[in-house]
Subunit: 740 residues, 2 copies
């Protein structure tokens, strides 16, 4: 395990920081009670790994477990795996050119990055046996003692990476390439997105600051600017994503889907494209299950929405109506309710989401993940935004309708306190600043808390856990060879770390984007806070991966996946909420808030309608303008394809081909001779065959160019004569015969 | 020229119906006054044609013109042109495989359709000289006497085509293929679209009929159904279009853009993809010109919209208010105003649109055409829909606000009649049936009139024109060879025909779709009328191409182009207008129309908002569902690419390659031996080199699988002992050493 101290020390050659050529560590559990079974499994594991050409070493893990170290046995095998991988990429249309068929040259042509090597080795370990892999799959009961298969952190790299980032203001593309080479495109895409988002955040920050200083809350100018910004950011990122995918050679990779081991199929059919057998689960069955998403969403809205309404109205009652004893303590009750019940309900609903997604039985990991992300998004949407939605759309504009609700709390309190006399209360007044303080909570307090739970808590937890384990592990550590001791200690530490899932980081950023897009009009400083937060986030996420989690398997991806849709949805929805907030709350703030009249409903709908269509129009315009310029990535790809084809052509024809001159078009001289020859030939054939058909007759009246020209000239002359005669006689002239 | 009579006669071998192998006819003008210049140009023409390998024959045209007949001089040249064309298609990614490099086999592998041949010959004639063509371009001053270059109608085909279509109810795909092979994909796409649209029309027809019988006008159920239908139709067509493009081998053809001869460039630059020089006009300049589209659109709205308001309010005044003498004659005045001024204003605006598009200076024909179509669409939108918009959104719901306008007409009439006493008037009452009668006019009367102007008028005009010319043409006809006389007469007839532009036909259908989508809720029978009309339209359009127009140059295309966007716009806009019409007019019809109160504005906006979002939601759902099933065309394309790559691979490797087994992955036995050998080798090397580094040390502790297994087993056993000891002593056990 890396401790923070080590990460910031400059000792490069520290003991145990070298990975000794290990590709993967298999953490194998040996529960005391199932020793015989585990031992048999261990033998099978080593055999399976050896069979596919992997070298193995075994060492003691923490008590009750073994560490099996795995590496590719030979450079040849690496070459074969790389060739196989690149060949499939080419067949699937991801690479423009196939790999060199000379295995030895494959690695020379295009060196293998650490991420590619690790990905291929992982696939070799996990692929089913009939597909040339070792078939080690934690989901199957055969390998139930395999706790985890993970690569080891590259300590020197992590150290220099974190140190470098701490010292610079802005990441550059080279930093992203570093991440890609170490952790794979999937993680690199997250950092690329975060970087672009961070840079783009400067615009709403500046706008927000200006609006805060000059226009105050609920400024429609800021709302329009923010909407426009979100459109531009979204469209920019769509382009950028494609560019990066081309640059990293992974464009189209999302089409190669990894099969999901838990998938249950009904029957096998032939793939219509490749002709190979594929497992099929009727999509009709799946759609039936997917329909359950509707009650799920309703449950989310009712449960979490109800919780928010209860907690918020109670809070309003305590803070703004109740004026009796213990007010300062009672103020914590609603927060307690939220803190206790939100995670509880969320956990239950999340469990339901997991079960539902499992029942939807997707055949690929990506589809499963996307479906899960979708449901999580609904959940997160409710927990994150419901309180603000309640304030913006119920409390501020229609505070009066809360009165019965507040009265309910008053009566409940009355009953609970068993007092006869009425509770001491004050006049209920709507406080438009409530939304600002809520926004402040979500943008500042929550982000700080989040940073703590995300980075500090796991680190401290792990350190404490490690300390506690240290005594226990003495047993196994004593058995280590002295020169390996430091290394093995580190590996045991990494074993205990959790698996990193980039989804959580994406979710955090997307939810943040949502606050900005949906509610920042109520508190324009939000973007500034996010800007500062994300500067830290970018680094703390790096630190997190390096320190608090196992090194991730370097998966590939060509996009930020389902999050793109989530951002698009939030951006569109933001145009509606912003317009509604401006309309509903600006009146409340000015103090001239009328009753909930028809007039304001009319105006509110109109402003929503206009804002939404402004948004949609801007989207079209921005897309149009952005499509004007072809993205450099796509251009590069098209160029590569073009050059590859040209090369192929040159190889086939054995010459340097210019597509325009690929065929020798007869030149001036050649043309004449060809035509002549052809015509003469035809004439000869016609005379042989006697008279020939009407077609031959037609085409042989004028033999060759000169005759055509001569006869044409004569016609022109005769027509002129005729025209002149026509003019003179005002009637048809006597036509001089051409036939003679 | 074909007369209708001939088309329906069954005599196949009629004189002059054979094209005698002619590919193209060049209609060359020889104005009497510029004879010398025209004669020089004629010589150049024949030389240029001959130079590129085309055989020529010259005959007299109508007086003052020559007919130059052109055909490819040899089959070899055809082979070369086909090879060249297909090679470029492959380089541009349109074909999955390049053409065979053996020229002789090119035609054998994939026979040439008539459309392909004609297209290649046309390109040979018109391509610039430095690009291997004859460079005959009517836009240049050098070829100003070239009046037209056109292919000859295939009479027997046309005859059987029209006869076949008249006899069947529904076209099938084979009919479309016929059109494609004769007239090219561009025309075939129109008929394919019309066919799909016709078949799809049965749904709204049935819905409309049912709604008319059961629900009456302004039914929201019908409006929702119609909106849903338009979404499904649009998404279906997008799929179908791609399918057809793949089937016809033209997918991606729109990326190959034909240069526009009139394009003026500022400088030359290198194409970033192909590396060839391209002409560049800065897009900033173009965007500046494009901004003029905004005043143009405003001018359209003001001029044509104003005209509609004037004519309609006058009509309402005369029909519903005025009650004096001459009412029956005065009723025609507004119609006269529309009939006279609409074409006049449209012509002026169309001229402006042309000039504007010309100034926008597009470098490709497609871009130019799309920009022109866009402007025409604005114009057509105004002329077609403005009267209905006026009735639906002004007259019926807010008729009262017309009163000042009607009063204006009353006073004007008073002044015009110089009478002192007030005009005889009646009480103004809003008549909700007005929109139905207008719809009836647009869906029935206008379509019949349109049929007449489109098919019958040109035919009659041409027949009369031909008769008039007959006397004049005696001069030239007398000079014809007897056996060619019938043929030449036909060619001279075709010469006088107009050039067919598929754009006009698209426009008609798109505008019809607009009536259906925007206003059919006011008169649900519209779809039935359109269904009948389009059955005729499908045939009359065929007849029109065969009889009233020159045979079109068989251009390729892979979509219906800019019209797709127009349909998308109308479909979306329809969701808004339908909701608004239902809300505004159903009240008026029921008789309980209140004043223009806030309540109705509120409800109106809400219904628009709901309808539009229902539309957008449906669009997402339909897209999602349709994307579930991969279109057969795309599947076929992917399969072709896959097989092509596999074939290429097999050729390169000289074996039948299974991608999964492309690399021989070491099997159980092989793996073991390989691993052993490798490990032994490594061990030997390490011992040679003495002690080796820590990495070598690490990996050589356990030599081979058996050792790993044995040591692992020992570890398991020792761990168990330790665990048991732990349990007993509740502390760390004395660890038995493994090192010994």
């Amino acid at each position: 395990m890396t401790s923070l101290k080590k990460l910031y020390s400059n000792k490069d050659g520290e003991a145990g920081s070298d990975n000794l050529g290990v590709d993967y560590v298999v953490h194998y559990l040996v529960p005391t009670k199932e020793r015989a079974e585990a031992e048999a499994g261990f033998v099978q594991l080593i055999q399976a790994l050896t069979d596919v050409g992997l070298a193995t070493e075994v060492r003691n893990g923490d008590l009750g477990s073994l560490l099996v170290f795995v590496k590719l046995a030979s450079a040849d095998l690496l070459g074969q795996q790389v060739y196989r991988g690149r060949l499939q990429d080419w067949l699937q249309g991801i690479r423009t050119s196939g790999p060199n068929s000379d295995l030895a040259k494959v690695l020379e042509d295009e060196p293998v990055t650490e991420a590619e090597r690790l990905r291929l080795v992982y696939q070799l370990i996990t692929r089913p046996e009939n597909d040339g892999g070792a078939g080690i799959n934690q989901a199957s009961s055969k390998w139930k003692y395999v706790n985890d298969v993970f690569p080891l952190h590259d300590q020197p790299f992590n150290r220099s990476w974190i140190q470098k980032w701490a010292k610079k203001w802005l990441l550059d593309e080279a930093d992203l390439d570093d991440i890609r080479n170490k952790f794979g495109e999937s993680v690199a895409f997250y950092f690329a997105f975060l970087r672009s988002y961070f840079i783009f955040l400067t615009f709403p920050s500046a706008m927000g600051f200006a609006a805060w200083m000059l226009l105050g809350q609920f400024s429609s100018t800021y709302a329009l600017g923010c909407g426009l910004w979100s459109v531009i950011f979204l469209e920019y990122w769509k382009k950028k994503e494609v560019d990066l995918a081309v640059q990293w050679g992974v464009r189209g990779v999302s089409a190669i889907q990894l099969p999901r081991p838990e998938f249950k199929w009904d029957y096998e059919a032939e793939d219509l494209v490749t002709g190979e057998p594929v497992k099929v689960y009727p999509s009709r069955n799946r759609i039936q299950t997917q329909l359950l998403q509707i009650p799920f969403a309703i449950a989310c809205i009712v449960v979490l929405g109800g919780l928010v309404v209860v907690a918020n109205s109670l809070e309003i009652f305590i803070n703004q109506v109740y004026d009796g004893p213990g007010k300062q303590y009672l103020g914590f009750v609603p927060t307690m309710i939220l803190v206790i019940f939100t995670p509880t309900f969320s956990a239950v609903l999340m469990k339901a989401a997991n079960a539902l997604t499992h029942r939807e039985n997707y055949n690929t990991l990506d589809a499963h993940k996307a479906a899960l992300v979708q449901k999580q998004f609904v959940l997160n949407f409710m927990t994150s935004y419901m309180a603000l939605i309640f304030t913006a759309f119920v409390y501020i504009p229609f505070g009066d309708i809360l009165l019965p609700c507040l009265d309910f709390w008053r009566r409940t309190a009355q009953v609970l306190t068993f007092s006869e006399k009425p509770l001491p209360t004050q006049q209920f007044r709507i406080d438009p600043e409530r939304i600002s303080s809520q926004m402040f909570y979500f943008t500042v307090t929550a982000q700080v808390v989040n940073f703590a739970t995300e980075v500090i808590v796991p680190y401290v937890k792990h350190e404490a856990f490690a300390k506690a384990k240290e005594l226990q592990s003495k047993t196994t550590e004593d058995q280590d060879h002295a020169e390996e001791a430091a290394f093995l200690k580190r590996v045991r530490g990494e074993c205990a770390l959790e698996v990193y899932d980039v989804t959580d980081d994406y979710r955090e950023m997307v939810m943040q984007f949502g606050y900005l897009s949906l509610f920042s009009v109520a508190w324009p400083l939000a973007a500034c806070c996010f800007l500062i937060n994300n500067w830290v986030e970018l680094r703390s996420d790096g630190l997190k991966i390096a320190v608090s989690y196992k090194r991730p398997i370097p998966w590939r991806s060509d996009s930020i996946g389902p999050w793109l849709d989530a951002i698009g949805f939030l951006s569109w929805f933001g145009s509606i909420t912003s317009a509604a907030i401006v309309f509903l709350c600006s009146g409340a703030k000015g103090g001239n808030r009328g009753t909930t009249s028809q007039i304001s409903a009319w105006g509110g709908l109109l402003s929503i309608l206009l804002a939404e269509h402004f948004y949609l129009l801007m989207q079209q315009v921005v897309r149009f303008v952005m499509n004007k310029a072809e993205s450099p990535g796509l251009q590069r790809e098209r160029r590569e394809r073009y050059l590859m084809k040209k090369k192929l052509l040159a190889e086939n024809l054995g010459q340097n081909v210019n597509p325009k001159a690929a065929v020798t078009v007869p030149g001036v001289q050649a043309g004449e001779t060809i035509t002549r020859k052809v015509l003469e030939e035809e004439a000869r054939q016609a005379s042989i065959r006697g008279h020939g058909g009407p077609e031959e007759m037609f085409w042989q009246r004028q033999r060759g160019m000169e005759e055509t020209i001569a006869i044409g000239r004569r016609m022109i002359k005769l027509q002129q004569t005729a025209a002149e005669a026509n003019k003179k006689h005002n009637g048809p002239a006597l036509a001089p015969s051409l036939k003679a």
